[in-house]
Structure formats: structure tokens, C-alpha cells
């Protein structure tokens, strides 16, 4: 009797059980279906969402290529190439304001300010960043590894105490252009701006070699995975794409020679109380620029200061290539070389020579056609030969000789010599931006105002370095033609370029094209040697133990379209040793005062302020290189100088 209802219950239970089981099965099936939908059908969508929450990619910075100095120059020094620029790893500090609590912001500021050395203005600026509705605000840039560690140590304890997420402050690494030698070679190297191009994330160069070689120096960013979760701070994941580093550039600059040039030009400018000055040292056989110094200096790391102040901005450019001026007397040795070449040209044609360098010339009788104001000499001497003319820097003698050249061989021939042999009116091709080509007048061409560039008196003016414009490196190149025995020397700052895989992609091989006969250059050098001896205008360019040759120049600057009588550029270019020269040096002193300096006298002459700087640089460079003296007893040309002096007095006695 009792078993029946139990049996009935069991059947009912079974039915219920089946229904429940079916229901559960359906639910489970739905779950499986949903699971299938999420895992398989919408796999990509949810994967992306998950990745967006826990992973993101950041740019992996690349190393911008750096500049290295030249290696061994002399057998007595072990000089491996030195990095002139280093990309130092530094950090930017970011904060996540949304994860900070109101009560934690003030204590954070109080703790961060002393570590970062912020002033009141900076504190209020950063404090405002803390209140912004953002997940990422940059609060400090370019902090050192030590500062980063200090912040991290403080933050660990602070975040735990205030129950803040440990990634509410985080660091992003970047590489900062840093200069181990400070201001050295500042104008030539230049720098890159602290901010980067928003689209390409590439550095923006401010000028100099950084600008010229920007395409090669810049690399390509890689990609790195970053992981985050509520419990853990940002963790660096794998590198998805390796960054591509830029090319490294090996310069011809030698750091010690550069330092010598910078020290001496600074001293020279300060002594002459001039506005600025520059010195360029070049290997006359290869055209390698060993030093390119300029004072006042430009500190690349402080570039903002220079660009913010108009009076400092001009010190950011390389004046030896950007500023051109009339070379004045420095052109005289080159004019004589052209005159000697004209002599040879005439001899080849079977005609009589134009002039005899040893002959006594009455400069008082020289007539220069087309001049409204007669040309004058600073010296009152009337009778000169070529050596005396260069020694005393005679305008009349040299202008007279060139007038003969033009009268016989023509204006075109003369212009070709200045252009093709000495490179006037053409850029030297040195690897720096903003090089000026200078100016060389052309027969038949007109200025914008309609006046002819080349008129009757032009050759006479060109002969003594007026009516044309040239930059310092152009002049140095022209002198290197004489010093090297007639070879066309191309000045260069770059020795080789190496890519990120250490493969040499460019290596410079100096070209040696003969443009002038060595007999001509030898004769000009002989005359130039008298300039740096007693009775010469550049006797102060003395280099103890070594022979040297050179020429001074004192040009008036053009102000408001006319020659300013009181504003000068004083220059000296010379090379040493005189025979088989090793180095040529250009020294330019910009705007030395016209008025005499107490105790020193008038310092605006090239022989007074530029020549001594040449002497000091050359002496120290030759000592550094260990070059054996070629005139240890200082007896070179003593007899010749004496003979020339006697002859001069004999011809010009009153």
C-alpha cells in the first residue's frame, strides 16, 4: 500500500529530474555556444580588447648616429677615434593623474620638488598637471639614472603607504645628445632640438653637421610590447621590431689640435679686444680639416639660450664658411702666382716674359687705367722687386703686374685662373650647410642695379683682394694649392661613414689634381717666407724651429654699401714647414678695435693680432705631432733677408 505512492513519486521525480537535466543541458549548451562564440567566432575582437587592456606597444628608441674624431695622426701618439657626441640614456617622468588621490598630490609635490630641483614656478606648473583629467602627463624631461633611482626608492614606500597603484608614476627612456668635451667644435657639430618631430618622432637638427648628415644619422624606431595589470606596474615585454640605429660619422677633426686652436683663438680675440675670431687648421696634402675653432664658443647643450638671444645667435654659425669678405692683401701671393703662370704661358707661346720677379720696378710710374682715385701704397718705398713687394704688401707693384697680365692674355684668362686654379666664386664643397660661394665678377655681366661687374679698373682691384668676396675656407683652400706644390686640395671634414652593422659605406680618398706648376709655387713660397721674417709684416707669426710662409690681410668691412674705415677683419693665412708643408692655418679676427689699445698699440692689422695666433697654434700643433724641426738653429734665410734688406735700402735711400 505504501510502495505505490513512493513509486509514483519516483516517477514524478524522474520526470522533474529529466526536465531539470534537460534545462541544465540547455543552459550548458548555451554556455558552450557562448563560449564558442567568444573563443572562436569573435576571437579577434576579444583578443584585441584584452590586449588593449593589458598590453600596448611603445616605440623602442634607436641610437642616432654619432660623430667620432680622427684617429692617429702621428706615430708618437696612440689616438683612437674619440666620440665627440654621445647619446646618453636618460628618462622622462610621467604621472597618471586619474589614479592619484587628492590627499596624495601635495605630499607628492613636496617629495618630488627637492629631488628634481624645481623652483616655485615649476612646482605650480607641475601641480597643475596633477589635476588634469588624463592618464598620462609628462612632468619632467631628461632626468639622469641617479635621479630616476632616487624617485623610484621614494615612490615604492609612498605608493604603498597611500595605497596608490605602483605605476601612477612611470619613466620612459630616451637618448639625449651629450657632449663629453663640452663646447668643443660646437658650431661645427651643432645639436638636435629637445623636442622631436611629432609625426616621424625623428630628431630635429639645429644646424652644422647634424643638419648636413641628418638623413644618415637618423635611424628607425622599433616596437616593444608593454604589459600592465592592476596589481603590477608596467612591465617591459618583448621587442616586436628591432630599432635601426643611424650611421656613425668619423670626422677629420683631431680633438687635441681642436683644443689648441680653441684655446689660442680665445686668447687672441680677448687680447685684441675683438668681436669674434676663428681659426682653421688644414692638412695641406689631403685637405683634411684638423681643427675649426671659433670664439665666442657655442655650447650645443645650451642651444636654447643662444637662439633666444639675438646677440648670441650669430655665434651658432661657422663664420669661416658663412661669412665672406674681401680678402685684401691675402690675395697678393695668389696674384703673383697667376702672374708667374702668365710668364710661363708666354714662354710656351714663344713670346717675351711679362715681368722679371728679380727686376727693380719703379712703382711710382705704374699707371692703372680707369681709376678715379689713384692707387696708393702704405709704404713710401718706390723701387721694389717681387720679394720686396710681397714683404711690404705693395698694392701698386702687384696691381701693375696683373694689369700687364690682363693687357696681354685677356680678362677671361685672368678670371679663369682665379676661378679654376684658386676656386674663387665657387663653393669648396665642405660638408657644412650655409656655405657661401663668395663672389667673383665676370666680364660682360651686370649687377642688379645695371652696372657692369667688370670694368677697366677691376683687374687692379682684384689683384690686391678687392672687388671679390671669399670665405675663410675658400682662402685656405687657395693657399693649400700653393703649399702643396700646385695641387687642387678639397677641404673636407669627413673621413668615413660607418653604418649600424659596422660596414664602411663611405671613405674619402683625397683627390690630387695638379693645377699649378711646382716651380711657380716654389717661387711664390720663397717670396712669402720674407713676409714672416724680420722686416716683413707678419714677423710675429714666428714658429721656433720651423720655417713658415704666409700673408697677412686687413680688410675694411662694408657697412651700408661703403667701406667702413674703422671696421676691419684682420686675417693671416700661413703654412708650415715652408717646404713640404704639413699644415695650413687660417686665423681671422673680426672687428678688432681701430683705436690703439694701451700698451699694445693699434691691433687691427692682420700682422698684429692674427699672425701671433697663427704662430702659437702652429708651434703647439707641430710639437704635439712630434714633427722634427726643419730650422732648429733659426738660421733659415738669414742671409737672404739681409741681402734683400740691403738691396731695399740701396734702391730706396733718400
Amino acid at each position: 500500500m505504501q510502495a505505490e505512492p513512493t513509486h509514483r513519486v519516483r516517477i514524478q521525480d524522474k520526470k522533474k529530474l529529466v526536465i531539470v537535466a534537460f534545462f541544465v543541458f540547455c543552459l550548458f549548451s548555451l554556455l558552450i555556444l557562448q563560449f564558442f562564440k567568444i573563443q572562436v567566432v569573435e576571437c579577434d575582437k576579444w583578443q584585441q580588447k584584452a590586449r588593449a587592456q593589458h598590453q600596448f606597444t611603445i616605440a623602442e628608441p634607436f641610437h642616432r648616429g654619432v660623430f667620432y674624431s680622427s684617429g692617429n695622426l702621428s706615430s708618437i701618439h696612440e689616438d683612437p677615434p674619440q666620440a665627440l657626441v654621445v647619446d646618453l640614456p636618460m628618462f622622462h617622468v610621467y604621472v597618471d593623474p586619474e589614479s592619484l588621490t587628492e590627499s596624495s598630490k601635495e605630499p607628492m609635490m613636496n617629495a618630488l620638488a627637492p629631488i628634481m630641483g624645481w623652483n616655485e614656478q615649476m612646482i605650480s606648473k607641475v601641480r597643475k598637471e596633477f589635476d588634469k583629467k588624463s592618464r598620462s602627463r609628462k612632468i619632467a624631461t631628461w632626468i639622469t639614472h641617479e635621479h630616476k633611482e632616487e624617485i623610484e626608492t621614494w615612490w615604492k614606500g609612498f605608493a604603498r603607504r597611500c595605497k596608490l597603484p605602483s605605476n601612477a608614476i612611470y619613466f620612459v627612456q630616451d637618448y639625449k645628445r651629450s657632449y663629453p668635451y663640452g663646447k668643443m667644435l660646437g658650431q661645427v657639430l651643432h645639436t638636435i632640438r629637445e623636442d622631436k618631430d611629432v609625426l616621424t618622432h625623428q630628431a630635429i637638427p639645429t644646424g652644422g653637421l647634424e643638419y648636413s648628415f641628418n638623413q644618415l644619422l637618423q635611424g628607425k624606431e622599433g616596437q616593444r610590447l608593454m604589459l600592465r595589470s592592476p596589481k603590477f606596474s608596467l612591465d617591459r615585454g618583448d621587442v616586436l621590431q628591432l630599432p635601426q640605429n643611424g650611421h656613425d660619422i668619423y670626422l677629420t677633426i683631431h680633438p687635441f689640435i681642436q683644443a689648441i686652436a680653441e684655446e689660442e683663438i680665445e686668447r687672441g680675440v680677448q687680447l685684441a679686444q675683438a668681436k669674434s675670431g676663428w681659426a682653421v687648421v688644414m692638412d695641406v696634402n689631403t685637405g683634411d680639416i684638423l681643427a675649426m675653432a671659433q670664439y665666442p664658443f657655442f655650447y650645443p647643450a645650451e642651444y636654447r639660450k643662444y637662439y633666444a638671444d639675438p646677440s648670441l645667435k650669430e655665434h651658432t654659425k661657422v663664420k669661416a664658411i658663412t661669412d665672406c669678405y674681401e680678402p685684401g692683401s691675402m690675395l697678393k701671393p695668389l696674384s703673383l702666382a697667376i702672374a708667374l703662370k702668365a710668364n710661363k704661358e708666354r714662354e710656351l707661346r714663344g713670346e717675351k716674359r711679362l715681368f722679371d720677379p728679380e727686376a727693380k720696378v719703379d712703382v711710382g710710374k705704374i699707371q692703372l687705367p680707369g681709376r678715379k682715385v689713384p692707387m696708393k701704397d702704405t709704404s713710401t718705398a718706390r723701387f721694389l722687386n717681387m720679394n720686396m713687394a710681397l714683404q711690404k704688401s705693395s698694392n701698386l707693384y702687384i696691381a701693375g703686374v696683373i694689369q700687364k697680365v690682363v693687357d696681354t692674355l685677356g680678362e677671361k684668362w685672368y678670371k679663369e685662373q682665379l676661378e679654376e686654379v684658386f676656386g674663387f666664386g665657387k663653393k669648396t664643397g665642405i660638408e657644412l650647410p650655409s656655405e657661401t660661394a663668395g663672389f667673383l665678377p665676370s666680364p660682360g655681366k651686370c649687377y642688379p642695379n645695371g652696372k657692369l661687374q667688370w670694368s677697366v679698373p677691376t683687374p687692379g682691384c682684384l689683384a690686391i683682394g678687392y672687388n671679390l668676396l671669399a670665405n675663410g675656407v675658400q682662402m685656405l683652400r687657395a693657399y693649400a694649392v700653393i703649399a702643396s706644390g700646385g695641387y687642387d686640395i678639397k677641404p673636407s671634414l669627413v673621413k668615413k661613414i660607418v653604418n649600424a652593422d659596422n660596414q664602411v659605406v663611405y671613405e674619402r680618398t683625397p683627390s690630387r689634381k695638379l693645377v699649378l706648376d711646382s716651380a711657380i709655387t716654389d717661387r711664390v713660397i720663397e717670396a712669402m717666407k720674407f713676409v714672416t721674417k724680420n722686416d716683413g709684416l707678419a714677423a710675429r707669426a714666428d714658429i721656433p724651429g720651423f720655417t713658415r710662409a704666409g700673408k697677412t690681410g686687413t680688410s675694411e668691412k662694408i657697412r651700408g654699401g661703403t667701406y667702413a674705415k674703422n671696421v676691419h677683419v684682420a686675417t693671416f693665412i700661413g703654412f708650415t714647414p715652408a717646404k713640404e708643408a704639413k699644415i695650413a692655418i687660417l686665423v681671422g679676427i673680426d672687428e678688432p678695435p681701430h683705436a690703439p689699445i694701451p700698451g699694445l698699440g693699434a691691433m687691427y692689422f692682420g700682422g698684429k693680432c692674427a699672425a701671433p695666433v697663427f704662430g702659437k697654434i702652429a708651434t703647439r700643433v707641430l710639437q704635439y705631432l712630434g714633427t722634427p724641426p726643419d730650422d732648429p738653429d733659426h738660421t733659415d734665410m738669414v742671409q737672404e733677408v739681409k741681402t734683400l734688406k740691403n738691396l731695399f735700402w740701396q734702391w730706396n735711400k733718400r
Binding site: E78, A83, V86, M184, A259, I260, T627
Partner: protein, 123 residues
């Protein structure tokens, strides 16, 4: 007979187990090492960057400007740059009293010996 087969099978199983253990152990070691690679890479990078920073500090200290300043100080006033003809270059160094003739490949980068005599010496 069955006992012998069992014994052989047990022996094979034992060898197989040892071999398997060895493989698993080796795999674990490899896994352990591969797990250390990212950490070691990071450490290496930190050391390399530290090296760059230190090199920068050394270069700043040894800058030509600073070395010239030092050279101007009185304690180094007696020093001078040697002339290239005063410096002896020895192409390859070899022990003075060694009886053995050096064998093997030639030194590709022969070192230069700069005798102390070259700097500040009176000849």
C-alpha cells in the same frame, strides 16, 4: 621464463625511466635558462648603459681642455712632447730570455712600445 621476461622488462623500464628523467631534467634546465634570458638581457642592457655613462664621465675628465690645463700646471712643466725621431717603435714584443721560438699565427696588431725616455728626457 616469465620471471626472466619480467626482469628484462623491469630493467628496460628502469633504463627508459632514467633516460626520460634525464631528458625532462635537461629540458627543465633549458627552460630555466631560457626564462633567465630576458632578465639577463635587461641586466646586460643596464650594464651597457652604465658603461656608456661611465665612459662619458671618463671622457669628460680626460677632455683635451682638461688635460691641457693639467699640462700647464707646474708639476708637469718639465714634460715636453717627444719628436717622432726620438720615439722607438718595436714591432713585436718577445721575452728576452726565452729559448722557445714563438710558434703559431703572427700577431695581427703589433703593439708599440713607448719608452719612458721619450717624454721629458734629456738626450
Amino acid at each position: 621464463m616469465n620471471g626472466k621476461v619480467m626482469l628484462r622488462m623491469l630493467f628496460c623500464l628502469a633504463v627508459f625511466t632514467v633516460y626520460l628523467y634525464h631528458i625532462v631534467h635537461k629540458q627543465n634546465t633549458l627552460n630555466h635558462l631560457s626564462m633567465q634570458i630576458p632578465k639577463e638581457t635587461l641586466d646586460l642592457k643596464v650594464i651597457e648603459e652604465q658603461n656608456v655613462r661611465l665612459r662619458f664621465l671618463i671622457d669628460s675628465f680626460e677632455s683635451p681642455d682638461h688635460l691641457m690645463q693639467l699640462a700647464h700646471s707646474p708639476q708637469y712643466a718639465h714634460l715636453r712632447h717627444p719628436i717622432s725621431t726620438e720615439v722607438l717603435h718595436i714591432a713585436q714584443g718577445s721575452p728576452l730570455h726565452s729559448k722557445e721560438v714563438p710558434q703559431g699565427p703572427k700577431v695581427l696588431h703589433p703593439f708599440k712600445l713607448h719608452p719612458v725616455l721619450a717624454v721629458g728626457a734629456n738626450r
